[in-house]
């Protein structure tokens, strides 16, 4: 699916309270326009973003997830961003095996002063996911859980 089909990516953003969230504020303060596709969840540290949150977001309808952290060495809690990076690189390897493109799960660094970089990263993320299309293209398959009253034809292929 492409832009011409009216696909608007839904992206969940986990932004670190100390740098990236302030960076997003900075971009707003600079009145820079950026796509509204990223729904922001402010976390105290990128190290707080459990990989379970990312998987849950993807399974509950997000087409992509972006985690924004402090630059290496700038973490308010010393090494939370380092942990986030290590988890992210490992999660990418697993997501590839699970059929999810790495562009759908991005980690980047935005400091409190980097409004312009924030703007660029969000533009890039939205464009990348827009190109990939929806994560789950078939809404009618939203659940493969079989109910006991469902006919057998619905659980087995022809």
């Amino acid at each position: 699916m492409t832009e011409s089909n009216g696909f608007e990516p839904k992206i969940i953003g986990f932004f670190c309270n100390w740098c990236s969230y302030a960076g997003a504020d900075k971009a707003g303060g600079m009145q820079q326009a950026y796509p509204p596709n990223v729904q922001v969840i402010r976390v105290m540290c990128s190290g707080r973003v459990d990989p379970q949150f990312i998987l849950s977001a993807l399974v509950k309808g997000a087409d992509g997830v972006i985690v924004l952290a402090c630059h290496p060495g700038d973490c308010h809690y010393k090494e939370g961003n380092c942990r986030a990076l290590q988890r992210h690189r490992l999660l990418l390897l697993m997501l590839e095996q699970l059929g999810i493109e790495k562009e759908r799960c991005r980690l980047d660094y935005v400091s409190a002063g980097e409004g312009e970089k924030f703007n660029r990263v969000i533009h890039e993320m939205v464009a990348a996911v827009r190109t990939l299309g929806p994560l789950m293209p078939l809404p009618e398959h939203d659940s493969h859980t079989i109910r006991s009253d469902a006919p057998m034809s619905s659980v087995a292929a022809p």
Binding site: M1, D50, P51, Q52, I54, L55, S56, L58, V59, K60, H71, P72, G73, C82, R83, A84, L85, Q86, R87, H88, R89, L90, L91, L93, M94, E96, Q97, L98, G99, I100, E101, Y109, L132, G133, P134, L135, M136, P137, L138, H141, D142, S143, H144, T145, I146, S148, M152, V155, A156, A157, P158
Partner: protein, 374 residues
Amino acid sequence: MPEKPKLAIYWAASCGGCEIAVVNLHEKLLEVDAALDLMFCPCLLDTKKKDIEALPDGAIAVTLFNGALRTEENVEMARLLRRKSRILVAFGSCAKGGCIPALANFTTTDELLATLYRDNPSLDNPEALIPAGTTSMPEGDIHLPALLGRVLHLAQAVEVDYYVPGCPPESHQIWNVIETILSGDLPPKGSTIGCGTLTVCDDCDRTKEDKRITAFRRSYEFYPDPTACLLEQGLLCMGIATRSGCGAPCTKANMPCSGCYGAPDGVSDQGAAMVAALGSVMDIGDTAGLSEEAIAGRVDAFLAAVPDYAGLFYKYTLASSTLGGRVGSSKSTPLSPPLSGGKCSAPPLTRGGREGLTQVPDCNLSKQSGEIAE
């Protein structure tokens, strides 16, 4: 003398190890027999499906159902036993989370069939026949239980009363489960029983110190120190993300935990929990002065030591994991390289009026509704 309550043990897509674990109750089996009438167990007894069908609904007190759901027949038996049983227990990791059979969810069903029946070099199948639910023969249609589009765990097909983890469940825990059920003092429905709530680390008596791993290592590479934490020695021991209750027999035998008891209480996705844990203990060394790309590269180099993280971390729980298997993404790359000759479902490999043989189930990969056993 009043009739003893009926006990059934059924296997769906399983290996028989759960039955072995029950037999490993040894002399306690006599106590089981004294209290319960083991009346259905295809592995051990000759009772037939029609005998179960002839019972009134709810006639069986307890069914221990092991095995994942791979075929239509598995689902049919799950529904039958659900109807006939007052307590249905998802017994063992296959019934609880999919276990080894559910590793098939890393690929699509037609890729799976193509590999198994058409492309493996050791095959002798010149007609490229692939089993299907219905096959037209000159004499008429013949039927086999068709594969489901995806391997399911028991609770994805029927309502489950209790879950017993383990591959197989440890015999002392099986005894605890039977005692619990016999006592009549049952935990809330949906509970995971015959296990602890913490992690295997709680059962493991190795010395645990500060966890900073400078490299991942694999079991074949070295002989681990028998007293120090295996994770601290670089082995990807899953104990840190696995439910307690087994007594840690693997780490006692100097082998890393492979995670068969599934996720502990409060964790919905064992693989994600492992990622979170490892992300905290990896030590890539001093990164001062390195560029962000160089730091990421160093992490990647660290991670390159292990080839199959998803298979390792979801070995027992893929069906009940958040994603449930490979996701039907619009442009995703398959795990395996594309099959020569394309997918087996198209073009039809017809031969001599046997069109039916070429039909393979669609892969029905889709979003899971987040229904997780824990």
